[in-house]
């Protein structure tokens, strides 16, 4: 997948994003890291086709958009059970009912929610709601998974667990993941590559590859190596912020 000169301006002429050029390889886990309002969510929405770029284009391998999107909020339908929420993308693409059931079970099992299929969203904790949201994004077996600060509203313990589960999922499914976050620690922990963005208009300021022993686990989180990466990325982030201030 490639973004070429992608730019977004709002109606009043405010530049929100770009121009941004970057390439994501198939199966790669990339984080877009930047302060709030740097246009990283906008970039994600443009990739998803939810928003049109003012200039530039998004090229996706294979042509068609096969995308799963996890929003900042769980964005579940409160009137539907977890099962029906996860089944929604399949229902909207008019799949046969029998096939839907199987795929939903698989997706729920992947996120560890199989037992809660019949529950309503209000009966779930914040972390479980996010898992349901993740299952819904996975149910269509998309090539690309776009995640927009999905764990930002969760407590740290839940966030760490979901981080690990997401990494395990990624290792198993090898989907291309673009993960938007404002947390240096989260981006370093999760991704193979961290893309640091400047504030308004969002541009790419630096890129870091995180090469470490795989699979990552909690030991990585407390390692000196992790701390060193975090320091480097933090420095790059403050540089990006500083460039904006001048």
């Amino acid at each position: 997948m490639r973004l070429e000169g992608v730019t977004k301006r709002y109606d009043r002429g405010v530049a929100a994003l770009g121009p941004v050029d970057f390439t994501v390889r198939k199966g790669e886990f990339v984080s877009l890291l930047g302060p709030s309002g740097c246009g990283k969510s906008t970039a994600l929405r443009i990739i998803a086709g939810l928003s049109e770029p003012t200039a530039g284009r998004v090229l996706l391998a294979g042509g068609g958009r096969s995308i799963g999107f996890v929003f900042q909020e769980p964005t579940l339908m409160p009137w539907a059970t977890v099962r029906d929420n996860v089944a929604l993308p399949l229902k909207l693409s008019r799949q046969r009912r029998a096939d839907i059931g199987d795929q939903v079970e698989v997706a729920l099992a992947q996120v560890g929610l199989a037992e809660f299929a019949a529950a309503y969203p209000r009966e779930l904790s914040g972390g479980m709601k996010m898992r349901a949201s993740l299952a819904r994004a996975l149910v269509t077996d998309p090539d690309v998974l776009l995640m927009d600060e999905p764990f930002a509203a969760l407590d740290e313990i839940t966030r760490f667990r979901l981080n690990n589960d997401l990494l395990a999922l990624w290792r198993g499914l090898r989907k291309t993941v673009i993960f938007v976050t404002h947390s240096v620690f989260e981006s370093v922990y999760l991704s193979r590559r961290v893309v640091v963005m400047t504030p308004r208009p969002g541009r790419i300021s630096a890129e870091y590859c995180i090469d470490t022993i795989e699979p990552r686990d909690e030991n990585f989180r407390t390692s000196a190596e992790y701390a060193a990466y975090c320091r480097k990325v933090s420095a790059a982030l403050s540089l990006a912020m500083g460039a904006h201030r001048r």
């Binding site: 929405r45 998803a48 086709g49 939810l50 995308i67 999107f69 929003f71 909020e73 964005t75 339908m77 409160p78 009137w79 539907a80 929604l88 993308p89 229902k91 909207l92 693409s93 309503y120 969203p121 209000r122 269509t140």
Partner: protein, 279 residues
Amino acid sequence: MTASGSFAPADNEPPEEGVRTTPVARMLLPLAVLGASILVWHAIVDLYDIPPYVLPGPGLVAVTLLEDWPILWRSLLTTLLTTVEGFAAAAVGGIGLALLFNQSKWLEQAFLPYAIVLQVTPVIAIAPLLLIYLPQHTAVVVCAWIVAFFPVLSNTTLGLNSVDRGLVGLFQLYGASRLQTLRYLKLPAALPYIFGGLRIAGGLSLIGAVVAEIAAGSAGAGSGLAYRIAESGYRLNIPRMFAALLLLSVAGIVIYMCLATASHLMLRRWHESAIGKES
């Protein structure tokens, strides 16, 4: 009790055990007020020896209710039929119109002002005109409809426009058609609002039916409860007036309770309003 009482109670509960009302008390308190009122009413009529054509006592009203039951029952059925027809028309019309408006801004801008005009013009003033141009039963139903459809329309419109923006984006992402968005997203999201509108409409359609019956009363052979009230008034049959009024009130309460129950049954699994305080 003492152990649990020593802990700080939840925010929304009164601190004292004794202040909290139980479901039984919630049933009994209004009934106690009712009983006391009837007693006072009876005492006043008895004490001052008020003649029945001025103010009949509760006993006489009850007797009249029983004695005139065949007439009153038929009238009640007539009024209820009108109310239900008007309500059904209001529900279908209000929801249907809201859906149309939601699909086309042009339609909304063209017709919404007239819906509002219909709502703000007092139905008592429209009723005589309708009675000239329409058969009596139709005119009465139309009156009930006019009064009742607007809350359904405006509430449904509000509901259809109150959809979570994130979910709208999600439906967009998966290429949902307009019909799919309406069926799987907008309608369920609007359901609590629709029921709110229907609950208001139930009471209003009874009012509309009564108003139209009163207007029609002098014009022809109406036989609804409101007509009975007007007729009894002319004949100074005050006990029957009270009996008919009582039946109308009961009808209104029953309609409201039916709609509230329907709403609760439909929403209890997920909506805050129906989940209540137990969770």
